[in-house]
């Protein structure tokens, strides 16, 4: 089949402008996007730099963007991204500086992983043999260790786009793996560490990481699990906890979201609440204040919503 590929180029040794080069190569029917890139750099244009190794979606080297979305190019079939032979666009991952062409500086990524104390810390004397742990615990963790640290989720994380200090989906999914390991002896400290600013409460559940993860790890799900664990461990003095509690409370009581109250409730300290005043003023000036303003009222039929909440809460208690 004929593959038309538009590749983002950047050469720090040359004229340093970011541009695209277009290539057309002949490939086997079931070829992956990586096959196209390898064919280009081996037979057409040796100046193209690409990281790749295993070709089996296990080493995590070849994460990059195809048609705007992060993926591993080694398991992305050309037929999926160009079903009718369209030209595809290949670019380096986002949220990381480009070193050359499709190669990004991964130090940003590794530093996030390193920041979560990514090794098990058992407490007390080690058993002579293995730790006795139920297989279901291990199976649950195996879902998280499917992560190959390719960086695709970090590339497309919408929070990282505005706040580079966010721990990010990959590191937080790995964080869950340690917090939930029954052999680890520092769960509480871990949950405190991951609850800090830039941690688990900064995820906005935009689902990007779930969508792009090439291994089906769904990092966001594990971030939400971490939050449940943190709340269950009594770590409630966080804006994130107050935010989710206020949200649930307002929907339960009134049938819908009280946006103004949500903003106020989310901040614990009075001094922080005060900082919202200019935001409120700007919201009004820009015409973005909810029509009800501070006068939130119950929706008709809200009692049904309340009943659903009570039923669910009853089940959980």
């Amino acid at each position: 089949m004929e593959a038309k590929v538009r590749v983002a180029r950047y050469d720090p040794d040359g004229n340093r402008d970011h541009h695209f080069d277009e290539y057309t190569v002949q490939l086997a029917e079931n070829a992956m996007v990586l096959d196209a890139l390898i064919d280009i750099r081996e037979n057409v244009d040796e100046t193209l730099s690409v990281r790749c190794s295993c070709r089996s979606a296990i080493c995590g080297s070849c994460a990059m963007r195809v048609n705007g979305k992060a993926t591993l190019v080694c398991n992305t079939p050309m037929s999926r991204v160009a079903p009718n032979g369209e030209q595809i666009t290949v670019e380096p991952m986002g949220n990381m500086p480009v070193l050359k062409d499709l190669v990004v500086d991964l130090e940003v990524f590794w530093n996030k992983v390193k920041a979560i104390t990514p090794w098990i810390q058992p407490e007390g004397p080690k058993p002579e043999r293995e730790y006795i742990v139920a297989d279901e615990h291990m199976q649950n963790l195996i879902n998280t260790v499917q992560c190959i640290l390719c960086g695709a989720c970090v590339s497309d994380c919408t929070v990282l786009e505005v706040d580079p200090s966010f721990m990010g989906p990959a590191a937080l999914a790995k964080a869950y793996r340690f917090a939930a390991d029954p052999r680890d002896g520092h769960k509480q400290e871990r949950l405190e560490l991951y609850s800090q600013a830039s941690g688990m409460w900064d995820c906005t559940h935009c689902f990007q990481c779930v969508e792009v993860c090439p291994k089906g790890v769904a990092p966001m799900d594990w971030i939400l699990e971490l939050r449940r664990e943190a709340e269950a461990a009594g770590l409630k003095d966080h804006n994130g906890v107050r935010h989710s509690e206020s949200l649930a409370h307002s929907v339960k009581e009134s049938g819908w979201l009280d946006e103004a109250k949500l903003a106020m409730d989310s901040y614990g300290k009075f001094s922080d609440k005060l900082k919202l005043v200019p935001v409120g003023v700007r919201t009004i000036l820009k015409g973005k204040m909810p029509k009800t303003g501070p006068f939130h009222h119950k929706r008709p039929g809200a009692e049904h919503v309340t009943r659903i909440f009570e039923e669910l809460e009853g089940k959980h208690s």
Partner: protein, 566 residues
């Protein structure tokens, strides 16, 4: 720049990481230099598991015997005994380090059956055991604060005053060459699969460590022993784990027969890999294949088992062959997978082939696939390779640390990098040529896969030898399009090809040298094993005119060679 460490490890797969941890525990200054980030290493590709005789009904002797038999009696039995004896405590240690092993109903470590083993002694993490172990090794290297020089490619070993004293390496990010001074160097840089096309191996498996050691006088041992794995995908050579057959999958031919009953009536699909691959190729050659393949049938295992324990290979079959293992059999064929041969090292990882002066390379260690300690002899059993990484990683880390404490750094400075810098500059400055790196590598891969595969003979091997020599000649004339400094993967590929050509020459010459059939080496012109003349290792030394071949006694402790049936 000049960097200095007591122990320098080249390669950050599980062997290198494990060696680093042990050296660090011993208290020396250790660092790892690696051409890819640690978790990108090829240890990832080991799917099925890791062997140990932990079970009460099992014994280390049984594990050792299975390994000796699997090796077709070419493995060194002193090293195999150590491997089998130390396996249980190393598995427990891995568990304590955080590996999420599958469990049995009682919450203890669970096992699965594997090829060539008389007992189910393979511990596993779904079908991502290598990945799970590698990531834990990386985590522990962070815990122990072992510095890693990521994306640095070693271009030569520093050999001074009769010992290895470090290496020169190029930093991919800047293109700069640096000198790494070390009192001991451990090579843990993996195999040479990319000299074959196709191969299950990652693109990084280019025999770099073997070539580096060979050029300072270390012999490469048993290089003719190249394992073809029985279940690889025809499209790109990707591997489907032996764990599938361990869980009960069948191999069938075009008549729908489970043909392994003809070749290995007792062990069937779980005979050792050389036997199964040869059987498959025999079926295919006899016209009982389907488009050059036989079929791997998992359907009777059921969707639940496939999705929980064989999830990765279900994905691979779907992505690369468009096959749903739950409902369809999958075409597979023997594919180049592993090299049993490598840098000759003893059970402490020391590069040493005798007790006399001149029969060792002081300061140099080798572990993992790049080495030949010789655990696997003529044929490696599945799930012994991960084990080898931890046992000999640990042992070499300890030994190298103790050795380093007795040594001083060599008196070399930045200028030592000049030799390598000149060579690379010359390569970059050569004019454009018709031969591109990719083209030469493809010709090499095709040649090796055609003539140095499951069945070999003198004529084919001579053709391969001549072709490799021709390619070495043509390599001297290649020109690179990419002249840049930053992340020049064109340059990297050229240096890797140079390494592969040296190693491939040794593989073909060694296969020609061994005039018998043993393990993975099957010579149609010498179809029998010949213990009287060939129960010995092949050693290849570098000379100006190509490899000089020699023989070395096999170490036998308990198990005398017997006829090998499964």
């Amino acid at each position: 720049m000049v960097f200095e460490h007591d122990v320098l490890i080249i390669g950050a797969g599980l062997a290198g990481l494990r060696a680093g941890i042990e050296a660090k525990r011993k208290g020396v200054d250790v660092a790892i230099l690696t051409k890819v980030y640690p978790v990108r290493s090829h240890t990832n590709a080991a799917q099925g598991g890791i062997n140990a005789s932990l079970d009460e009904g099992d014994s280390w002797e049984s594990h050792a015997y299975d390994t000796v038999k699997g090796s077709d009696y070419l493995g060194d039995q002193d090293a195999i005994e150590i491997l089998a004896q130390e396996a249980p405590s190393d598995i427990i240690e891995l568990e304590h380090m955080g590996v999420i092993f599958n469990r049995d109903e009682e919450g203890r470590l669970g096992t699965r059956a594997f090829g060539g083993a008389s007992h189910a002694r393979t511990y596993f993490v779904a079908d991502i055991t290598g990945q799970a172990l590698l990531h834990v090794g990386y985590e522990q290297s962070l815990k122990y604060k072992i510095p890693t020089y990521n994306e640095f490619f070693a271009t030569s070993l520093i050999y001074e005053d009769g010992a290895v004293k470090g290496c020169v390496a190029i930093e991919m990010r800047t293109g700069e060459l640096h000198v790494f001074k070390a009192k001991a160097v451990i090579i843990a840089s993996g195999g040479v699969g990319r000299a074959f096309e196709p191969s299950t191996n990652a693109l990084i498996c280019t025999g770099d460590g073997m070539a580096l050691a060979y050029r300072v006088g270390a012999p490469l041992m048993d290089m003719e022993m190249v394992q073809y794995h029985p279940t690889t995908l025809p499209s790109n050579g990707a591997l489907l784990t032996e764990g599938a057959r361990g869980e009960g999958a069948y191999l069938v031919n075009s008549n729908g027969d489970r043909f392994m009953s003809t070749y290995a009536p007792n062990m069937l699909e779980l005979a050792s890999r050389d036997v199964v691959s040869r059987s498959e190729q025999t079926e295919i050659n006899a016209g009982r294949g389907i488009d050059g393949c036989v079929m791997l049938d998992c359907r009777h295992l059921g969707a639940d088992l496939i999705h929980s324990k064989l999830r990765q290979i279900w994905e691979l079959a779907r992505d690369f062959s468009g096959v749903d293992l739950v409902t369809e059999p999958c075409p597979v064929r023997p594919g180049m997978h592993y090299i049993m041969g490598g840098i000759k090292a003893n059970f402490n990882g020391q590069v040493k082939w005798g007790e006399s002066a001149g029969q060792s390379v002081p300061g140099l260690y080798a572990i993992g696939e790049t080495s030949c300690i010789s655990i696997h002899g003529g044929n490696r059993l599945g799930a012994n390779s991960l084990l080898e990484l931890v046992v000999f990683g640990r042992r070499s880390g300890l030994h190298a640390a103790e050795y380093a404490m007795t040594q001083k750094h060599a008196n070399v400075g930045e200028s030592r990098a000049e030799i390598d810098r000149k060579k690379i500059t010359a390569l970059l400055e050569r004019p454009q040529a018709s031969d591109m790196v990719g083209k030469l590598r493809m010709e090499l891969g095709d040649t090796m896969n055609q003539h140095v595969a499951v069945f070999r003979d003198e004529a084919g091997l001579k053709t391969a030898v001549a072709k490799v020599k021709e390619l070495k000649q043509r390599y001297q004339g290649i020109g690179l399009q990419n002249k840049g400094k930053v992340f020049n993967t064109n340059l990297l590929s050229a240096l890797e090809l140079e390494n592969m050509l040296d190693v491939a020459e040794v593989i073909t010459e060694s296969a020609l040298y061994r005039k018998e059939s043993r393990g993975a080496q099957f010579r149609t012109d010498y179809p029998e094993r010949n213990d009287a003349e060939w129960l010995k290792h092949t050693l290849a030394f570098q000379t100006d005119s190509g490899p000089r071949l020699d023989a070395l006694e096999v170490t036998i402790t308990k198990w005398q060679p017997q006829k090998r049936t499964y």
